[in-house]
Symmetry: C2
Subunit: 205 residues, 2 copies
């Protein structure tokens, strides 16, 4: 009888994903105070109170931890953008809100904390998987809105869809990508309205 | 009689503008080899073979020399863009050529020589007068093409002209501004055609 209990409730430490989350949370805090580029895995281990070897059991490099932080950050931007888009009924208004939310969420997450910006910049410069996947999901969201607008008759259907998606993505890119966004602060107030106005004129049937 | 001759042909050195041009030419060469940021006016004086005091008679600072080099560089880009625009007859084609020429000329002048890029980047970051004036002239060229297209009936007239100019300028900006352009190399092949396509759809009457 005792044997059965021992088997079904084995003495165990936290699950792997819990440790990973713990490391990521501590690293996020540490990087946002001391910067990503300058911090080594040793510094991080010391700050968290883990051994370096223990951290390497869960992440193969500092970049792997940075990628996880970056992925979380981009997921949060994406969630805000999707929420803004979902609030609107018609495709033109969805597109307007998408522009507005991308600028607002990116500014807040990349620049409210200059140290986290560093991670986003490394992601964009180094073409990290998390950044590429995010760009792809944003393009997909854009494509969905365009397709819906073609079905409702709000948008023209002559231009190949791929071409429209790519061109509008290029218009949004300076506000999505932190490396570009840092040089666009002068325009972030007016750009969403002006660019979505231009894009909507280009889509009129 | 002799007196008159002495007066009309006084013994003189080179005119001020000649010395200025000579300093700018030598500085362009020097900066493009050794970089703008790292070079001091003393380094420059030594390299040219002038005294530092003599250079300061013509330019109040290193930035004043950099501004002159930058202005020359931007004038050259502008001349290429204007030449490309002038080759086309109709406003839509002018706009297409403007996009194409801006990307091509900016890439060539800012990036064929990474060291001169540094000056352009300082100009953009520091909002040098030469960079601001260039942006203003590009906006004016854009406005002239749009106005012409409104007159010929090629472009719509409902949207306020100012708004159209500003929105299209924002679309071009990532390819005009060297700080943005350096992060857009992946798109410089396709962007001119895709963005001018989108812009022309937005302008259709």
């Amino acid at each position: 009888m005792n044997k059965t209990v021992t088997h079904s409730v084995p003495a165990r430490g936290p699950a792997d994903h819990e440790v990973r989350d713990q490391i990521v949370a501590a690293a996020t805090e540490h990087f946002s105070r001391y910067g990503y580029e300058k911090t080594t895995v040793s510094d991080l281990a010391k700050a968290i109170g883990f051994s370096k070897a223990y951290i390497y059991k869960f992440f193969e490099s500092k970049q792997a931890i940075g990628e996880m932080i970056c992925a979380n950050c981009l997921r949060q931007i994406e969630a805000e953008v999707r929420a803004a888009v979902d609030e609107a009924d018609r495709p033109p208004e969805k597109l307007r809100r998408m522009f507005k939310a991308i600028v607002a969420a990116s500014l807040r997450l990349f620049f409210q904390d200059r140290k986290l910006y560093e991670i986003a910049a490394s992601a964009a410069t180094g073409r990290w998987q998390a950044a590429l996947a995010y760009e792809e999901r944003i393009r997909k969201l854009l494509q969905d809105i365009l397709q819906e607008g073609r079905q409702t008759g709000d948008f023209e259907r002559k231009t190949p869809l791929d071409e429209t998606v790519m061109a509008i993505y290029l218009v949004m890119r300076p506000y999505l990508n932190p490396l570009l966004l840092q040089h666009s602060f002068d325009y972030t107030d007016e750009a969403p309205a002006q660019l979505s106005g231009l894009v909507l004129r280009s889509l009129s049937p």
